[in-house]
């Protein structure tokens, strides 16, 4: 059984339709990347999965076999889907440690604790009492990942991890992915950086204008196929 | 479909009909003293000044986003200003009215300086504090009878006219004229360049800033206009009631609560709303006149329900159903489809 499955998923912001029938399936333990240009609908897809946007029918999104398309975000995280939001969104009036503790608010028990997060990201341990806006962009990204992990999710959604970060910082952040996967966490990454995505994932979906245009294992996809699926030319 | 051309129009059939209706109402109001009694005239005087206050508050909260709970400050200043001018400075009453309004405007400027340091919800209570400060100051002034207040000296009243009937006629016409003039003034001002800026601020504060509208100045203008209208009403209130106390002059119930409920129930953010609201208010008041506090309880409860269920008020419900605008502030683009 798939851990996450979307079927013919449609989503809109008011009158603007952003997803036109997206179907994807992710198995337990996979790391899947979704690539696509700006406006392809990648972030919309994640926002729909985590409940910030509603799908048309409850059964359009299934998690562990259960329909979750009509649930609220606070119910979805309790089932084990945690999101690292686009733009990182730390809580500005909370310090690093309180931000991390907020991740555990839903009360799920599992391998991830404050100590484990600090081992994974030693940078955060050094600044555990700092207010989150004083962190660098890379540290904020680590904080956002750590906060989501504190919920001990079965599925981790990562929206645009590399956005606005220096290459060396991006490398540090992706270096943490294997450690997360080893705990059995399934990961769904949205990424504009194609190379980075191909290297990190077992499987890739390419989206264009709200539709899936290509999918497969990175090794099985040719450069031209990806170019066509990504840019549509 | 080929769009041949379009035209921009402002007046609609409804607005032309509304204009005709308004003319009819004005004619009727002019004729009132000929056939109605004193009680009706006094009621219409009160209707007039509540209409003026409602238009002023609508301009503040509905257009400029300045939710004030302190308009009683300027009504009260208008009351005392008029008494000072007539009873103490011996200025003839009809000259004292405009002088009072100017004085209230001058005092409003420093209060704006303080109130504008507070934003949004804090502004609301800030204006309330300012009104309280003024009330407390007047309770301390022995010359004005301190807390027990004072009466308008009889010579001031006689100054208007020795004849009671003529006096009441003058007061009636002045009040009704002020009520109607406020509506027209607000309507015309909203159509002006400055008024358009105000509507833009209402619709999107961020966007209006980016197209170069000086929001602070526009808001300050609105604050001062509203203060002047309230000051004017204050002067009329004294002429009508002939007696004033700090509690009545600076009453939050009379000059803020009632006015706010009128605008909310009638419909905030339109010129028509406060007119409808004023009518509803006086109908409710006459229906509930015998029930004491229940009258205010009902009014408050209706305002809460309207705010939650129909935030554009009674006029909003009418307007959205029939697309009528008696006072067309906006321009409409009509396509000529060929």
């Amino acid at each position: 059984m798939n851990l996450l499955q979307t079927e013919d998923l449609v989503a809109s912001y008011g009158d603007f339709q952003a997803l036109f029938g997206v179907s994807l399936a992710i198995e337990q333990g996979e790391t899947v990347a979704i690539i696509g240009a700006n406006g392809a609908g990648k972030s919309t897809l994640l926002r729909t999965i985590c409940g910030l946007l509603r799908s048309r029918h409850p059964t359009d999104v299934r998690f562990d076999g259960k329909p979750i398309g009509s649930l609220e975000p606070e119910q979805i995280i309790a089932l084990g889907i945690a999101m690292v939001p686009e733009g990182r969104r730390p809580f500005p009036s909370l310090n690093v440690e309180d931000n991390l503790r907020m991740g555990a608010y839903c009360g799920r028990i599992g391998p991830w604790t404050l100590e484990r997060i600090y081992t994974l990201f030693p940078n955060l341990a050094e600044r555990r009492l700092a207010m989150s806006p004083t962190l660098s962009g890379g540290q904020q990204q680590m904080l956002a990942i750590g906060r989501a992990l504190m919920a001990n999710p079965k599925l981790l959604l990562c929206d645009e991890l590399s956005l606005g970060l220096a290459p060396i910082v991006i490398r540090d952040i992706y270096a943490a992915m294997p450690g997360i996967r080893d705990e059995g966490t399934t990961i769904l990454i949205v990424e504009q950086d194609i190379q980075r995505a191909l290297r990190a994932a077992n499987r890739v979906y390419c989206m264009q204008k709200g539709r899936v245009t290509l999918q497969g294992r990175p090794s099985a996809l040719s450069r031209d196929q990806i170019k066509l699926a990504y840019f549509g030319v | 479909m080929i769009i041949g051309s379009y035209r921009v129009e402002r007046s609609t059939r409804a607005s032309r009909a509304g204009f005709a209706a308004m003319l009819a109402v004005i004619v009727a109001l002019i004729s009132v003293p000929a056939w109605a009694g004193r009680a009706e005239m006094r009621l219409l005087i009160e209707v007039s000044y509540y209409l003026a206050l409602a238009q002023a508050w609508n301009l503040l909260a509905g257009y400029a986003g300045l939710v004030s709970v302190g308009q009683q400050a300027f009504v009260g200043l208008g009351c005392y200003g008029f008494i000072i001018a007539t009873a103490f400075l011996q200025i003839p009453p009809l000259v004292a009215i405009p002088l009072t309004v100017v004085a209230v405007g001058l005092i409003a400027i420093p209060t704006a300086f303080l109130a504008f340091r507070l934003r949004g919800a804090h502004f609301a209570i800030g204006t309330w504090v300012l009104a309280e400060v003024l009330r407390l100051i007047f309770t301390l002034v022995q010359a004005f009878g301190a807390g027990t207040g004072m009466s308008l000296p009889i010579h001031v009243v006689l100054d208007i006219s020795e004849n009671r009937v003529i006096r009441e006629l003058i007061l009636y016409y002045v009040s009704v004229a002020i009520g109607i003039a406020t509506v027209l003034l607000v309507f015309l001002w909203l159509r002006s360049r400055e008024g358009l800026a105000l509507t833009a601020i209402r619709d999107s504060e961020a966007a209006s800033g980016s197209v170069g509208i000086n929001q602070q100045r526009t808001k300050l203008t609105v604050y001062l206009i509203a203060a002047l209208i309230a000051g004017l009403v204050g002067a009329l209130v004294v002429l009508e009631k002939l007696r004033i106390t700090p509690d009545a002059a600076f009453s939050v119930t009379d000059w803020s609560a009632n006015v706010i409920f009128i605008v909310i129930i009638g419909g905030i953010g339109s010129v028509e709303g406060p007119i409808v609201g004023t009518l509803v208010f006086f109908v409710l008041r006459s229906l509930l006149a015998d029930y004491g506090a229940w009258y205010l309880i009902t009014l408050g409860a209706i305002a809460i329900i309207v705010m939650l269920k129909a935030p554009r008020g009674v006029w909003g419900l009418i307007g959205s159903r029939y697309d009528v605008h008696l006072f067309p502030v906006q321009r409409r683009v009509r396509l000529n489809l060929d």
């Binding site: 609220e72 999101m83 969104r89 009036s93 608010y105 | 209570i125 119930t253 705010m307």
Partner: protein, 289 residues
């Protein structure tokens, strides 16, 4: 000695004012709404205590055990049933709905209890005092009220900064959408914030009723005091609020020492002076997002 006495009395009242302000500040901090009926809830609590005392014949302090949970429930239902529907970017709906509530509560109390002044009787505490020197006596009751205020403010501060609930309050205040992503049910959090705010208000209301006489119309003035305390102390800092309360209390006491009718005005003037020269308050939080 006269002035020291005046200042001490003022500071002790200030504790009560800080308690008035705490509920207002909590609701504004979490939800960015100002409850214009805040003062009327203070008065409502005092009247609830009157009813409890009349029904079961207990003293006012025991009545707290009934009034506080009751007001907690009122706050929860008020937020879930009414105020949650006013939340959004527009400041008008919460202001006007709470203003409407203020008028409704005042007039319902007038209908039920008439305009007569009342007081919650607590004879032994009212008269007891500790004498320090010839002209200085510190009343046991004002002191107890002050101590209770400090304990309650400390408790709220602890809740905000040391508990999961407090963290959720602060996170929701920062970014409600992101807080939902981590399992916070905003509607429930808002309701709990209002419930706690009204529980604090009810303590303040009963203590107030023990200290002074009250009638249904005095709510708005307490709202203004609470607001002034919040602004004088600086937003977002509860110990600043305590300091603000003391400053307002002392200002009123000094005003009253010159002339009894100057007390409220003197407080207002101090508020306006702070607003003029230090619009962010005397003790603003160094970090204010």
């Amino acid at each position: 000695m006269y002035w020291i006495n005046t200042i001490i009395q003022g500071a002790l009242v200030g504790g009560l004012y800080a308690l008035f302000a705490t509920g207002l500040s909590l609701m504004f901090g979490v939800m960015r709404i100002i409850n214009l009926a805040h003062g009327d809830f203070i008065v409502l609590s005092a009247y609830l205590a009157v009813v409890v005392i009349n029904c079961i014949g207990v003293n006012p302090l025991v009545a707290l055990a009934v009034v506080v949970p009751l007001m907690f429930g009122v706050g929860y239902l008020l937020q879930r049933g009414l105020l949650n529907f006013t939340m959004g970017s527009d400041i008008l709906p919460p202001l006007l709905v709470t203003f409407g509530l203020s008028v409704v509560i005042q007039n319902v109390l007038l209908e039920l209890f008439s305009a007569d002044s009342r007081r919650l009787q607590l004879p032994w505490l009212e008269t007891a005092s500790v004498r320090i020197g010839d002209q200085l006596a510190i009343g046991l009751m004002p002191t107890s009220v002050f101590v209770v205020a400090v304990i309650v403010i400390g408790g709220i501060e602890f809740m905000l900064y040391r508990t999961d609930l407090g963290r959720a309050f602060r996170a929701t205040s920062d970014d409600p959408d992101t807080a939902r992503l981590y399992g916070v049910n905003n509607r429930n959090i808002y309701a709990l914030a209002t419930a706690i705010a009204l529980a604090v208000v009810s303590i303040a209301g009963v203590l107030f009723g023990i200290r002074t006489i009250f009638d249904p119309t005095i709510g708005p003035a307490r709202l203004l005091y609470a607001f002034e305390v919040v602004i004088i102390g600086g937003l977002g800092s509860l110990w600043g609020t305590l300091a603000g309360g003391i400053i307002l209390g002392v200002a009123q006491a000094i005003g009253a020492a010159f002339d009894p009718s100057w007390d409220t005005l003197a407080g207002h003037v101090v508020f306006l002076v702070v607003l003029l020269f230090r619009p962010r308050g005397l003790f603003p939080k160094t970090f204010d997002p």
